[in-house]
């Protein structure tokens, strides 16, 4: 493997395929896109297989001094590896989901998705801060086109809102990056992660980064672009938006905000907790009253992302690992839920919950998959959702019982709105004749949902596979954060501190064994 620039190849394959898709007609474009994304999935598996767990922190490093001011520098650690895997895993499914649903301008559609894949991998693999910014921002263009051209009724409003909201969030981050590079004299992310900025300046830098990542994440109250974008985007667009794009915010926190500004992160942790607590409760309640399935899932995404942020700012390994697993799990589960909506939307062309009912009678397999993903979204043990949420909440419990308490109510509310959705769609009477006449999953839809279901179960039963590559990186991050770690509110009075540590250890690996 040594010397083979696998990351650059992974960026190049979809890019070339995107150009090819523009030149050929619809059928060929579909196949080109599918083959290219499958090749990238293969490359991703090779990457994972060759990733040396416990080896160097940064692996597969490539660099080329092509530009003035920044470098072409790629490399991954375990965290980036997992997010790249998530991206390459979801992409072929997205292409498959668009196979029949997209009929107009197929070549351009596939090209936009392939370009998106290049940029997503680029975001996670970039080791140069400006290369990261370019990849991070560039994703706006294909997503704007995907929502605007192939979206639903109010697609134009949604596309503008998505673009301008995220752009406004990110521009100040660029100024902060310029300042940091000027101060530290390097654009190299690993070096910057170890650079100690003056805590006074950290406050400003942290806020500038926060503006960008909070919008991307999205955190309450800057989440309002998300329901619009999700509802209007085509199914595959929603999958990629919920599955991967939202993870860029969490990745940004874990890669930039926390290691580069530990003091400021500690200083602002209460703010993050407050926003997250509000998000969990408020957006869950909003989700409860939605009539539109996609909107409901979009609001549930905001609630799940709030669990990610509290985990990240818990400043302990449980919280960080939990946050990562929630991100991966949410990427799979929300993607799968959007696919489930897409399946019935393709048949009836409505997302109105009331237009369905009793689907478990005429679509038993569909109901089965939908149930699995509903349970995973709630966080039932045995599914991926449980592992992440449990770890995150265990992490935050060490810091603040109140935050843990409020966020746990979110889990209960989550169960409420998801089960309520499931009851209305799958159970009850078949009150609509057209919904009752819908055929069950076809072969293509099986191929879309079954792999996600398998991975969701795998992550739920044996999360060690996914946590092992990240463990060393999270430990390194935890060590970096140790000096700014805020004191927890649980003042342990136990005479033997050793016992307390043992309990924590147990909690950390509770899902692993």
């Amino acid at each position: 493997m040594a010397g083979f620039p696998i990351l650059s190849v992974m960026l190049l394959v979809p890019l070339l395929a995107a150009v090819a898709c523009l030149l050929v007609e619809a059928r060929a474009a579909r196949w080109t896109a599918l083959i290219a994304t499958l090749v990238n999935l293969g490359l991703g598996l090779v990457l994972w297989a060759n990733y040396d767990v416990g080896g160097a922190q940064w692996q597969f490093v490539e660099r080329a001094s092509l530009f003035a001011g920044f470098e072409w520098k790629l490399g991954i650690d375990g965290i980036a590896l997992m997010l790249i895997m998530l991206s390459v895993f979801l992409m072929p499914i997205c292409i498959g989901a668009s196979w029949e649903a997209i009929e107009k301008r197929v070549g351009e559609y596939m090209a936009a998705f392939l370009l998106m894949e290049t940029l997503m991998i680029g975001v996670f693999a970039a080791q140069d801060i400006f290369l990261f910014y370019i990849m991070f921002e560039a994703g706006l263009i294909p997503m704007y086109l995907i929502i605007g051209i192939w979206g639903g009724q109010d697609r134009i409003y949604a596309s503008y809102k998505f673009f301008l909201y995220t752009l406004l969030g990110s521009v100040l981050m660029l100024i902060a990056m310029l300042w940091m590079v000027n101060e530290a004299g390097t654009t190299d992310i690993p070096t910057l992660m170890a650079y100690d900025f003056d805590p006074k300046v950290q406050t400003w830098l942290w806020l500038a980064f926060f503006a960008s990542f909070a919008v991307k994440m999205p955190m309450w109250p800057v989440h309002t672009w998300l329901p619009d974008a999700h509802v209007q985007a085509p199914t595959a667009g929603s999958v990629i938006l919920a599955g991967v794009l939202l993870k860029m915010g969490g990745y940004g926190f874990i890669r930039f905000s926390l290691p580069m500004f530990p003091e400021a992160s500690a200083q602002f942790a209460p703010l993050v907790f407050a926003l997250s607590m509000i998000a969990v409760v408020v957006t869950s309640l909003i989700a409860l009253v939605q009539h539109d399935m996609k909107k409901l899932i979009a609001y549930s995404s905001v609630a799940h992302m709030a669990i990610v942020t509290i985990g990240l700012f818990a400043f302990n390994p449980q919280g960080l690992e939990g946050a990562m697993i929630v991100m991966l799990s949410h990427g799979l589960v929300s993607g799968a839920l959007f696919l489930c909506v897409g399946v019935i939307y393709d048949r009836l062309h409505t997302r109105e919950i009331d237009r369905y009912g009793g689907l478990s009678i005429n679509m038993p397999y569909y109901a089965l998959f939908f149930l699995l993903f509903t349970m995973a979204s709630i966080g039932l043990p045995g599914t991926s959702g449980f592992v992440g949420e449990f770890l995150s909440l265990a992490g935050i419990y060490q810091v603040s019982s109140w935050v843990a308490f409020v966020c746990t109510t979110g889990i209960i509310l989550g169960a409420a709105y998801m089960l309520y959705l499931y009851r209305r769609v799958a159970f009850g009477d078949q009150k609509n004749a057209d919904a009752a006449a819908m055929p069950d999953l076809d072969k293509r839809e099986w191929f879309l949902l079954a792999p996600i279901a398998a991975v969701v179960m795998w992550m739920g039963v044996y999360p060690e596979s996914f946590m092992a590559p990240m463990r060393a990186d999270i430990a390194a991050l935890d060590a970096r954060l140790a000096r700014a770690k805020p004191e927890g509110d649980a003042q342990l009075t136990a005479p033997k501190p050793k016992a307390a540590t043992a309990t924590e250890e147990h909690a950390a690996h509770g899902g692993a064994h």
Partner: protein
């Protein structure tokens, strides 16, 4: 300083004077369409030769006394050379696109290339000026040619109106500038930039401040910076599109380079006096350019406001007042020229089935369905003008803001970049109209292959492939900035 040396340094200018006169003579004899075309291509060839003569100056990073010609009236520095190369490229593009545009109405006449050559000569003098007189002669030579060019379509009312407006307001600006230079001369006792810099050190007198303000006001007019931007949309809309292409690119480069020269050399010791003016003009241009563009339905007016908006970002590079800032401005300028030429060439290619040019935003609705490549190129240019990575327009904004941050002007950078989001709105609107709206099927006409080739070159330059040029641009612009600031 012997004459041979002086003529060697001014070779491109001498070439322009002579060839301009010869071509004018040729134009007097040849009234046919074919003759006009031949003269156009000869003018392009002259520009190419001049570029070949200028390039070594830039590559060698020429600076200091060795660059002065005619007893210090003219300086062929690397800075001037870089500006000239951009001017030549822009002028060449405006010449190449012209014949196909005028062909339809049979309005093409050989005066067009001749006037462009004389305007270029004026611009060369502007960017090589070392004193207020060379500045004024260059500026007027350029302006007089430009007034005529704006009114080139004699039978078109809009064109005549544009020419008249440009003439009246341009003369006013020249008057203001002249007033400023005379005040400056009065208080400094010299017209030489270096002499002015020596005379105006330390605390500056009120009279000299007046001179400085008037000079900057006159120059702001020429670069169409807010609050002296009002003429821009009207002139850009009324002038024939190839002429607008020219106005938006070459004279902008010359006037901005001239502003940099005056600010950094003549008033180089009075940075504190002019910095607030430039900062105001920069931020006001960004905001007014962006807000003004939102309501426009005519594409030429829209691009006019876009150029006002871009001038704001360029001026941030000047406001920083460091060599890095000047270098950033030059990089931005180079990218701006590519984007502007590309934008206007695409505009020239929007024609209806009869070959009639269409200029309205609603006319290009849904054009991405039937003119895929053209729409994609124009969309790229729009995103690039908005400064969205990975397009190369981002790099221009990036270097400008980097210079501002390095000079510790973080508030300026933060406000400027936040205001750029307003601009993104109307660039997005153009993309929306082309890609999201139902096809209007108006802009269906075929385009000339020369236009296609030029658009392809511009699109390639502003595509992510453009980043491969960053090293080269960085080196050249730093050398150019150094030649200006450390004489």
């Amino acid at each position: 300083m012997d004459f041979v040396q002086s003529f060697r340094l001014t070779a491109p200018e001498v070439l322009f004077s002579l060839s301009g006169l010869v071509l004018l003579l040729g134009a007097a004899w040849s009234r046919s369409d074919a003759g006009a075309r031949i003269i156009t291509w000869l003018a392009v060839a002259v520009l190419a030769v001049a570029a070949a003569l200028t390039a070594p100056t830039l590559l060698s990073g020429a600076k200091g006394p060795a660059t002065l010609a005619f007893s210090g009236l003219f300086a062929a520095t690397a800075f001037a050379a870089l500006a000239k190369l951009l001017i030549f490229a822009a002028a060449g593009a405006s010449l190449i696109v012209a014949p196909a545009f005028f062909q339809r109405t049979r309005d093409y006449r050989p005066e067009y290339p001749v006037l462009v050559l004389f305007a270029v000569l004026g611009m060369c003098l502007m960017v090589s000026s070392t004193n207020l007189l060379t500045l004024y002669i260059g500026l007027e030579l350029n302006s007089l040619a430009a007034y005529v060019l704006a009114a080139f379509l004699r039978n078109d009312d809009r064109s005549a109106e544009a020419g008249l407006k440009y003439f009246v307001l341009g003369s006013l600006a020249s008057g203001i500038l002249l007033f400023g230079t005379s005040l400056t001369y009065g208080f400094a006792g010299t017209i030489d930039y270096a002499g002015i810099a020596n005379a105006l050190t330390g605390k500056i007198s009120t009279g000299a401040v007046f001179g400085l303000v008037f000079v900057f006001a006159g120059l702001a007019f020429k670069i169409s910076a807010v609050p002296f931007h009002m003429w821009t949309p009207d002139v850009y809309e009324g002038a024939p599109t190839p002429v607008t292409t020219f106005f938006a690119s070459a004279p902008k480069v010359a006037a901005l380079a001239l502003t940099v020269i005056v600010a950094m050399t003549a008033f180089g010791n009075q940075v504190a006096a002019w910095q607030p003016i430039v900062i105001f003009a920069a931020l006001a241009s960004i905001v007014v350019g962006a807000l003004g563009a939102i309501g426009q339905t005519n594409l030429k007016r829209l691009l006019a406001y876009s150029s006002i908006n871009n001038v704001g970002f360029l001026l941030i590079g000047l406001a920083v007042a460091t060599p890095k800032g000047v270098a950033a401005l030059l990089i931005y300028l180079a990218i701006y020229v590519a984007m502007t030429i590309g934008g206007f060439v695409a505009l020239l290619m929007f024609k209806d089935a009869d070959g009639e040019p269409v200029e309205d935003l609603s006319d290009i609705a849904g054009i991405s369905r039937h003119r895929k490549v053209l729409a994609a190129c124009f969309a790229m240019i729009m995103f690039s003008l908005a400064g969205i990575p990975p397009l190369f327009g981002f790099w221009g904004k990036f270097v400008v803001f980097q210079a501002a941050v390095e000079a510790d002007m973080i508030a300026l950078a933060a406000i400027g970049i936040a205001a750029s989001v307003i601009g993104a709105f109307y660039y997005l609107k153009v993309v929306k109209v082309m890609y999201f709206d139902e096809p209007a099927m108006k802009a269906t006409g075929k385009s000339d292959w020369m236009h296609q080739a030029l658009l392809a070159i511009c699109a390639l330059a502003i595509s992510p492939a453009g980043y491969l040029l960053t090293k080269c641009l960085d080196g050249l612009s730093l050398a150019a900035a150094a030649s200006l600031i450390t004489p």
